[in-house]
């Protein structure tokens, strides 16, 4: 899922300081699951911002709504009426949701309430780890299902750096070395011979480097 984290109340307050009537929009999909931008978080955040503005003697009126998915036009329809009643919108979705709302309401200022982080996995209560960079040309088959493009800090595709230890990554001791994991995993599934092959330079044109990407699936178009 897409993992995001909340912006601080201070930053959020600063972003909307010029507005007195604002709509906070939650998203019921990824960011609800990662406890950043669902109905509950939008409620708590709007309460905190209201309080902070009151203390600043600059009160603000905040209305709230949480829709199923901000990245899907189908669900944006229900925003038409509440958006029409405010000066500005704060979207508590990932960056895609924020931009979808901004495009849908070109006359209204739309701000991001979250920092979108990564594609990741919930590994223990309230701890998410990044797993995928969305490079557009998945290489997981070569690496025992562990992605060095995402999980090696130096993006090494052929083996570990000199700072690798069996316990952790040199760059961040809280993180295992992806190459130690790849080695163990390939060994466990009887595919260690894959490490003998030189992995040739990756074609990054399928990743973001070619500019924003577009997926068109003709077979599904009407």
């Amino acid at each position: 899922m897409i993992v995001a984290s909340p912006k601080s109340i201070t930053e959020l307050k600063d972003i909307i300081s010029a507005h007195r009537k604002v709509l906070f929009v939650g998203c019921g999909t990824c960011v609800s699951v990662c406890l950043a931008g669902g109905e509950r978080e939008v409620g708590i955040t709007s309460y905190a911002v209201r309080m902070a503005r009151k203390l600043d003697r600059n009160p603000i009126e905040i209305s709230q709504i949480t829709i199923e998915r901000q990245c899907d036009n189908e669900f944006l329809k229900e925003l038409a009426e509440p958006v029409s009643k405010v000066e500005a919108v704060v979207s508590f979705a990932c960056g895609a949701g924020v931009q979808a709302i901004a495009e849908r309401f070109p006359e209204k200022p739309v701000y991001a309430g979250l920092n979108t982080q990564f594609l990741g996995v919930l590994e223990e209560q309230a701890v998410w780890n990044e797993k995928c960079l969305g490079c557009g040309d998945c290489v997981l088959a070569h690496f025992g299902g562990i992605c060095p493009v995402t999980r090696c800090a130096k993006r090494l595709l052929n083996g570990p750096c000199g700072g690798s230890t069996e316990d952790h990554c040199e760059v961040n001791p809280d993180r295992p070395c992806a190459w130690q994991l790849i080695y163990k995993r390939l060994k466990a599934i009887g595919q260690l011979d894959r490490l003998e092959e030189i992995v040739m330079p990756k074609d990054w044109s399928t990743a973001w480097y070619g500019g924003a990407r577009k997926v068109v699936r003709k077979e599904h178009q009407v």
Binding site: A153, K154, R155, L156, L157, N158, G159, P160, C161, G162, G163, S164, T165, E166, E170, V171, W179, Q180, Y183, L192, L195, E196, I198, V199, M200, P201, W204
Partner: protein
């Protein structure tokens, strides 16, 4: 310079123990620094290896190598990190280096930018060192540039790789070394050696797998300047385990820097006695004077024994 007229290649293949030293480029726009640095290094070094922003933003390895050549240094090896250049810049700089008669390029990943250099920087990491080695070898052997473009002239440099003797498990270490050699590495420069037993274990593993015959192994020694540096190396572990005896000697010495030179020299002498070792590389830091001291104390100057590669 072609592969045939490459002087460093000739020295490396002569069977004589080669002695090389590091040059850390200046932290400013300082040609005089490079001139002085070169003057303070022994004249008869087999090569000077110019580091590429290893610990901070320094003057470029390319320009420093060029300045060293102007000082009459014949064999100047240039390190190139895959961290700072994408494949376009790597290939372009490699061709430029070849035109300047740089006899070898050392392919390194580079320390991660977040470790002391510039945490805010985006790294290139377009190629990794194995891919760079392979691409450079493709230029040398087939005159093939990026995307298969034909070069008007093939470069004649050797290709070097870095080896970490202390990377464990050993099986993973050997897999990676084998890959670097298969990609085309002519020589392996190791991380600095402080734990001789650990190094022997690694060398034994290389010997058993025949890898020591496929690329010249050049271990590295580094004089430790003071107790603080010794503790830092022990804490970070970048050069493998630092034996307690090393810390005790530095701590107990009246002149810590001189003791650091003595420790490095003793290590160089031990390494020299290993038949698989084809050279010694001395990390001089910002102090070029210590190179001559290590060479003298370790007895690795002129008249080194000839070894059959």
């Amino acid at each position: 310079m072609t592969s045939e007229t490459n002087n460093f290649a000739r020295v490396l293949n002569s069977g004589r123990l080669v002695v090389t030293a590091e040059c850390l480029p200046p932290r400013g726009a300082d040609a005089v620094f490079v001139k002085d640095f070169s003057k303070k290094l022994p004249a008869n070094l087999d090569a000077v290896v110019v580091a590429d922003n290893p610990d901070a933003v320094r003057s470029s390895s390319f320009s420093t190598a060029s300045l060293l050549k102007r000082q009459g240094r014949r064999n100047v090896i240039m390190a190139m990190t895959t961290r700072d250049r994408n494949r376009i810049a790597l290939m372009s700089d490699a061709l430029g280096a070849a035109a300047l008669d740089i006899p070898a390029i050392l392919c390194v990943a580079g320390n991660h930018q977040s470790i002391s250099i510039c945490p805010q920087a985006a790294a290139a990491n377009d190629l990794d060192p194995v891919q760079l080695i392979h691409a450079l070898k493709d230029m040398i052997l087939h005159g093939a540039g990026l995307g298969g473009d034909k070069l008007t002239k093939k470069p004649g440099f050797l290709v070097g790789a870095v080896a970490q003797p202390y990377l464990r498990p050993m099986e993973l270490n050997l897999l990676y070394i084998r890959k670097k050699i298969s990609a085309g590495a002519d020589f392996l420069l190791t991380q600095a050696v402080f734990d001789f037993e650990g190094f022997e274990l690694w060398m034994e593993a290389l010997r058993e797998s025949g890898l020591d015959k496929r690329a010249a192994v050049i271990p590295c020694v580094m004089p430790i300047a003071d107790l603080e540096k010794a503790r830092e190396l022990k804490r970070t572990g970048i050069y493998g385990p630092i034996p307690d005896a090393v810390l005790a000697r530095i701590d107990g010495a009246a002149d810590a820097a001189a003791e650091g030179v003595a420790i490095a020299s003793e290590m160089a002498a031990k390494l020299k006695s290993m038949p698989e070792v084809r050279g010694i590389h001395i990390l001089s830091g910002d102090v070029p004077e210590i190179v001559a001291a290590v060479i003298e104390q370790a007895g690795i100057g002129a008249g080194n024994p000839v070894r059959v590669p």
